[in-house]
Amino acid sequence: MAVVFQKPKSLTDAPLHYCPGCTHGIIHRLVAEAIDELQIEGKTIGVAPVGCAVMAYDYFACDMVEAAHGRAPAVATGLKRALPENIIFTYQGDGDLASIGMAETVHAATRNENITVIFVNNAIYGMTGGQMAPTSLPGQVTQTSPYGRDTATVGFPIRVSEMLATLDGPEFIQRVAVNNVKNVNAAKKAIKKAFQNQIEGKGFSLIEVVSSCPTNWGMTPKKALEWVEEKMIPYYPLGVYKDRSANKEEK
């Protein structure tokens, strides 16, 4: 019998601290599988965010750096410029990337820094206890929007992939989800391409992963994935938003 599925080598044996049913674990695994398949574990450096994934440095077997809140793309820029032979990725949540780290994200994208950004969008601040995030949906109940997100006072959610795709800089931007097997397989393909782009020196690749937060959404893990399908994906449509190389080939 051949092994058809096992834990990737680029993940350590440390048990993940995430809540039951949290899809961070799936996304960690997809990143590790991409690193394994591209055989880049020895030269990969990850940048961990502030947020639930802050302890990602314990889970990835490669070298890791912990950045200040939101500053991961800036730290990754420094690493990549100092160590151009290494593969640099950041792993950030929506509170990190789309809120306090928006400036770093936009400018790293517009400079087309040759880094890979994994952006986990679960529409809420997870680690701090379920506050409203820039990506929380209109009407979504959170700790700081107990009557639902009121767009008249706090504005609308930010669609990061669409926004960054308007820039001329970035190489590759795709939004994927991990709510079912089909989407997980598509997400894996996208994450691998984002790393492949960096190996080929193409530039800034961002994969937005629509994710779930059963604990702070107040749902069972199963219900949370259904909510992703019913509420999140209609607001955050999946797809490739920018792929400069593909467009060049067409021309």
């Binding site: 049913g21 674990g25 097997v181 397989n185 893990p221 994935l225």
Partner: protein, 68 residues
Amino acid sequence: MAKVTFDADLCKGCGLCVDACPKGILQIAKDKINKKGHSPAEMTDESKCIGCAFCATMCPDCVITVER
């Protein structure tokens, strides 16, 4: 014939594998508790398993190894 092994002490009993299984042969154990205090996932009828690895694909904690 497929073989599925669970690292039960890593399992958090979230049940995502149970929903992903196309054969409906996974369940959250009713009478077991693991080291973490969760009721782990288990297989009810190994002979029906087709080794698709859907359970392992959806597992957030790399609990499941699939051989075929």
